[in-house]
């Protein structure tokens, strides 16, 4: 094998090996789909996240019919009738006297595309005189599917933004500590340990308490990101520092210094790129932490507030066993969290399998 071939194949091999793992490839597909849906949540969801219909509290998923008197037709739903049973529990029944076809590109609630253009076309929907609850409704008769889609925006973006912030901090602090060593290293590492000593969830609560509780939803969203990033950087910084401690001894670092690069340039341009393979899978494995952190805060009411939706605060509805017993569909957000977390973990582990030999190869230089 010529040297040139060897180089090309290293990166490509890593890619191929990764996608050979079917499950990992499926997880990548799933996540891409989820993020796509989050971006176009307004269009894809039949309703807005806050349109209520109190008389349809906890309505079960609406049945979609494809056959009308044994003939295949356009999908349609029947109207809905609400009644009380002997213990005053609501029961919903189909009202077979009216049929509503499911229409594509239906006009409905207003929403904004990319936060700019106002639009009121939805991918699908039914006539306004009934409701379409594909995954069921919550206590106020809001459509769960719509809320899941809107909620995914928060739950999925918090992971990405949080990880970006905490990795920037972690890489810089780890890089500085490892490159300079000595007293600077000592100070920064003790700082890391302080953060790592406190159990994450209590630190989360303590930090949340430091922010006023009458925050607007945007402020809460930002505060959560800041808090989670604040917790996340320390572990990474320690590992990066260890890698930099050995990387700084490389000849190319001395060479870079002899060319007149500043310490900062050397850390960022010549040392940190060598921690990239590690960082990539570390990022994948730490994103779930942010998603779960947001969910935990929102679940106990300290995070995203109603009527805004996040997977975490949607779950706060499902904290009673009785509700889960009667309205199992309110567990959808839990399923979504589970699915997302699993996907990130599988991808992270697959990446580690693929990148580990490369990391070892690099160490031999």
């Amino acid at each position: 094998m010529t040297k040139e071939m060897k180089h090309i194949s290293e990166t490509q091999m890593a890619f191929r090996q990764f996608f050979k793992k079917r499950v990992a490839a499926a997880c990548v597909g799933t996540l891409l789909l989820l993020y796509f849906c989050a971006i176009f949540a307004g269009f894809l969801s039949p309703y807005s996240y806050k349109t209520e219909q109190r008389q349809f509290s906890y309505a079960p998923p609406t049945a979609i019919h494809f056959f009308d008197e044994r003939k295949l037709t356009k999908p349609f739903v029947y109207g809905m009738k609400m009644d009380y049973d002997e213990v005053n529990k609501r029961i919903y029944q189909e009202d077979r006297s009216v049929k509503y076809p499911i229409e594509l590109f239906k006009k409905g609630d207003k929403y904004k595309i990319f936060g700019l253009i106002t639009c009121d076309y939805h991918f699908f929907g039914v006539d306004e005189s009934t409701r379409l609850y594909i995954l069921g409704a919550d206590s106020r008769g809001r459509d769960l599917l719509s809320r899941l889609l809107y909620g995914s925006r928060i739950s999925l973006s918090i992971g990405l933004i949080g990880v970006t912030i905490s990795f920037t901090i972690g890489l810089l602090i780890g890089g500085i500590a490892g490159y300079y060593g000595g007293a600077i290293d000592n100070f920064l590492m003790r700082l890391c340990e302080m953060f790592m000593m406190v159990p994450g969830f209590y630190l989360l609560l303590a930090l949340r308490a430091a922010f006023p509780d009458n925050f607007s939803s945007l402020q809460v969203y930002l505060a959560i990101i800041v808090i989670l990033s604040f917790i996340g950087w320390a572990g990474l910084a320690r590992i990066i520092r260890g890698m930099c401690l050995s990387l700084r001894e490389r000849d190319y670092v001395l060479a870079a210094r002899s060319l007149g690069l500043s310490d900062f340039q050397i850390i960022v341009q010549h040392i940190l790129p060598h921690t990239l393979s590690y960082s990539i899978f570390a990022i994948m494995l730490s994103i779930p932490g942010y998603i779960l952190g947001e969910s935990a805060l929102s679940l106990i009411g300290l995070g995203i507030q109603d009527p805004f939706a996040s997977w975490g605060n949607m779950l706060s509805d499902a904290m009673s066993i009785v509700k889960i017993r009667f309205y199992p569909w309110i567990l959808w957000p839990a399923f979504m969290i589970f699915l997302t977390v699993i996907c990130f973990n599988v991808i992270g582990n697959a990446l580690r399998d693929v990148l580990d030999p490369m990391l070892k190869g690099e160490g031999e230089n």
Partner: protein, 260 residues
């Protein structure tokens, strides 16, 4: 005119509680447009002297006494900002093993570009052309392709040429070459040394050559400095050092190399 002057430079390291002198009061002068060779046995402090000049001594080594002046400016007192301006712009370095001195994850071109970006105000286009020009100057046949290659894709000789191209990128006044050919085979060694002489003439620069190969040293250098255990035992014009060595150590060194 003198370009660089070491006067009484003393470098020490703490070893098991005792202070050990790695350089013991060395004084030498590198004049403009000249090749000065530093020879001596392994561990005699040649590399240490080269690194001290750019203030690149490893952690733990301290400069106890002495001065290093570059064009009458005391480098040991210069601010770190000023030193960064001098490194790579006025004085640059060629290392023994360019495979490790280049960062393996960036292409040759981008690493030469880095120096140009740092020390010149050339436009992006101009830098690109300059990179090709430099690679051509050091005798690389296919500069456009090599600029896009990664260090491990080149042969040892090509890599060393590329490293030299990087070192001369900003028209420095002095190049420190620390055993630049000891990892190359004999024919390549001669070619690289010829290249150094050619560049010295064309670019009007000085070279501080650190080498074990007395044959090469005799051929190309104007002045020779012989070191032994951190001290300079003999210094002078190449011809006089080689023909009438005064110090006993120099005589031994010459004898050993003649038997080779």
């Amino acid at each position: 005119m003198s370009l660089v002057r070491f006067s009484g430079l003393t470098v020490s390291v703490m070893e098991k509680g005792n202070e050990k002198l790695l350089l013991d009061g060395i004084s030498l002068e590198i004049s403009e447009f000249s090749i000065v060779s530093l020879v001596g046995g392994s561990g005699s402090g040649k590399t240490t002297a080269g690194l001290a000049l750019l203030r690149l001594l490893p952690v733990g080594l301290t400069i106890k006494r002495g001065e290093i002046t570059y064009k009458d400016e005391n480098l040991l007192k210069a601010s770190s900002k000023r030193i960064q301006q001098i490194r790579g712009k006025e004085i640059s370095m060629v290392f023994q093993e360019p495979l490790y001195a280049f960062n393996p994850v960036f292409s040759i071109g981008s690493q030469i570009n880095e120096v140009l970006e740092l020390h010149t105000s050339y436009s992006k286009e101009k830098r690109k052309e300059r990179i090709w020009e430099l690679l051509d100057m050091v005798g690389i046949k296919d500069p456009k392709r090599v600029a896009n290659n990664y260090p491990h894709q080149l042969s040892g000789g090509m890599r060393q040429r590329a490293m030299i191209a990087q070192a001369i990128a900003t028209n420095p006044k002095l190049i420190i070459a620390d055993e630049p050919t000891s990892n190359l085979d004999v024919t390549l060694q001669a070619k690289i040394m010829k290249l150094f002489v050619k560049l010295k003439e064309e670019l009007k620069l000085s070279i501080l050559l650190i080498s074990h190969d007395l044959g090469v040293v005799e051929n190309i250098s104007d002045k020779v400095v012989v070191m032994y255990e951190g001290k300079i035992v003999e210094a002078g014009d190449t011809a006089s050092v080689f023909n009438e060595p005064k110090a006993e150590y120099t005589q031994r060194l010459l004898e050993v190399s003649k038997f080779k």
